[in-house]
Symmetry: D2
Subunit: 253 residues, 4 copies
Amino acid sequence: MKVTVWNENIAEILTDEESQEYRNQVLAVHPNGIHNTVKEIIEELGDDVEVTTATLQDENIGLSDEVLNNTDVLIWWAHMGHDQVPDEIVAKIHQRVLAGMGLILLHSAHYSKLLKTILGTTGDLKWRDDTYERMFCVNPSHPIAKGIPEHFEVGAEECYAECFDIPKPDDTIFISWFDIGEVFRSGCTWTRGRGKIFYFQPGHETNTSYHHPVIRQIIKNATQWVAPTGYRENFGAPHIDETLEDLRAQGKL
Amino acid sequence: MKVTVWNENIAEILTDEESQEYRNQVLAVHPNGIHNTVKEIIEELGDDVEVTTATLQDENIGLSDEVLNNTDVLIWWAHMGHDQVPDEIVAKIHQRVLAGMGLILLHSAHYSKLLKTILGTTGDLKWRDDTYERMFCVNPSHPIAKGIPEHFEVGAEECYAECFDIPKPDDTIFISWFDIGEVFRSGCTWTRGRGKIFYFQPGHETNTSYHHPVIRQIIKNATQWVAPTGYRENFGAPHIDETLEDLRAQGKL
Amino acid sequence: MKVTVWNENIAEILTDEESQEYRNQVLAVHPNGIHNTVKEIIEELGDDVEVTTATLQDENIGLSDEVLNNTDVLIWWAHMGHDQVPDEIVAKIHQRVLAGMGLILLHSAHYSKLLKTILGTTGDLKWRDDTYERMFCVNPSHPIAKGIPEHFEVGAEECYAECFDIPKPDDTIFISWFDIGEVFRSGCTWTRGRGKIFYFQPGHETNTSYHHPVIRQIIKNATQWVAPTGYRENFGAPHIDETLEDLRAQGKL
Amino acid sequence: MKVTVWNENIAEILTDEESQEYRNQVLAVHPNGIHNTVKEIIEELGDDVEVTTATLQDENIGLSDEVLNNTDVLIWWAHMGHDQVPDEIVAKIHQRVLAGMGLILLHSAHYSKLLKTILGTTGDLKWRDDTYERMFCVNPSHPIAKGIPEHFEVGAEECYAECFDIPKPDDTIFISWFDIGEVFRSGCTWTRGRGKIFYFQPGHETNTSYHHPVIRQIIKNATQWVAPTGYRENFGAPHIDETLEDLRAQGKL
């Protein structure tokens, strides 16, 4: 399985003076960028998984046709740079998901072109920084919940709150509680074409959620769950040339 | 539409001395019993709806075959007396739901024989009294959510908490936040046979939720939504005697 | 309720000589165009429903902002002209659906920009003309199935066959059998934002399905089911300025 | 993983004279009984899977507490003997499913006490022998569909037809076409508690479906999919003794 971790990598490389304190906060949590923090999570899956990273600054944002056609699972973190992702690449990722590639949308990817295009809703929600989060597993038999406790303390995170404008999830696996009086469906799955999709809320850039052992386990479980069971090769709406009757007439049945 | 509101009516009629304070608390909220409080909610639906009550103390717990066969929507509140509901009547209600009768299960009915029998799960959850609840609508286009705000303050209620052992709901319409650090899928729907079912969490006997205008509206909306669109008359697994081929051979097509 | 029936109206007005026989076949079934046949179905809902038509040949394809903002349910028939529908209008319809407008996609609208954009899948299927269809209701308690028999003979129709590339339906209400050895999920629902969507397979332009009483009833039921229960007015991702704690501190709770 | 294949084993051992032709038909397809035919399918999963059989004639129908508590996946074939399965054992299987055991219900198990008890519906359908079946995969990304073609010829089978009285499946994976003009949701999944359930229609005792390579693959895929990801150990509705506030007050957070 080949996994590509994509990160806009904007906060990590801000150069203007007034942003340096913020940038340092991000780098204190993610010394090599969010993409490399997530890459290290995926590497814990062992040698059967090959993981690389790509960022907005790379040529073709790191997602050439060759890279994309060799990616089985794409993990996506983005926040400030949604508009900088070219529409043509969004369209290619969309097609690749329909063909079977797994997709994990992290945190502020709720507002990515990817989520809006593939799911067809706005991704709207409510938000506030500096809150406390506790996460509940409401679908304990789902493979993504394997080994995950009934609830656990996420700790300091950005509050994302309902009403989250998403299509009805195939499965709502996690629901989060926030101390300021909000709830959120924080882990949801969908299938589109042959591709499986998981949205997962934690991961504000200055919070340490991706170092939380339970959250790391969820991301690993999700990577395995969204992994393709096979790819669709032929698209289109073919005329049925050989009906059951035809097959019978030809002695093929 | 004929609605029957069933209440175990136990707390309301306790006679032992040490229970009188508790009983008075219940009667302070429900002067004529929980069934009559709920009946008044349903009466607000107007003259098209005929509503009666039944309790555990009535003959056949108020649910003779005649009553049941003339009930389009059954609303059920129970807590301490689950075991006193006869299995034969549970089986009859189950059959009536499969035939098309709507069913609204309120609050501690999560542990009723009805829920366990019809849904096939334990109804297990976690609980604690004297908490504060806020409810979020996560399915704003559902008819049960018509006119309901995105979120509203329930106020003092008994906390019911995840993981709630129910089958995956057809629709999860409400999710609740509790101040002690818990969340709960507080309004869920299922369909079984021709019957529609709504579970709704608020309604601890000493709390005033059923006097809350939004909660009253939800119960009214739910009554209209679970109302049958038609009844199934024939049960069984018939042999297909007239296939399409038969019909053609007989010149009926 | 205001219903707008949109039809590409292409087959009905073909002028080239070799298309006249085909055109006459269409007009024999739909003397005033498919839009007016469908309009007559909706008019059977009575005076509470106001129904108008729009076609590809109208200015702004008949869907100016004013028309769209006053449409509660949009019914869409299209086949050859998908590409002629402007992207900007597709985007506006998409937004209007997310705000609450109901949408019924008929027959070859499986390949419309609308379906592809709103649902995010290809709409691919297999097809063959001149087949025989029988339709089964597999969700008898759904409002769209009200009064519809367990199965009925559609008769001559174009076969649409699985695997239909759509997101998992909220509800699959009808499944069709075709004599050439194919099956199809012929009536499916989804919700996106506040909007409800129904895809319904019958309606090949030279077949008489829209004159079939059961199919007419299904379209009427669907129109009532997709009708909005309310509109969403505010889009965006607001910062939570008044948390529960804030409200308490301000004495508002 | 430990798999137990249960078969009522009635047709295989009929002793009355007039049943011998029928019995011989069954034994011609299943020389060692249906349970051993299915056992051989599961054995193809390799050494990681331990598979045993149990029948109605065994003590405790072969499902002692010890056997049941060591079974990870139970596969169930039954037809004439539904009533002979003791209610207490049905209740124990039900509890074991809620705890996490996977369950595969084959063919006429649609009318087993197990299906009726766990799913809460009648399992009613329509039927006719001696028909021709073709199966379509409508959920190609589901693990149970891994490696399965878009459609394939089942061949001679007993027709089971809609409307099938089951709760809305979590996933409908297969839909079947029958030559006599019927359709059927022939492969469906549900989750109850921690347990996953798969119903699969083929397997009439005198037909050879369980020797069909695609059907064998589906049964193997399903066995792996319903296998537990973990067991639930504690049942009940506990009082929440340590709230988030309590934990904070105790310095545990």
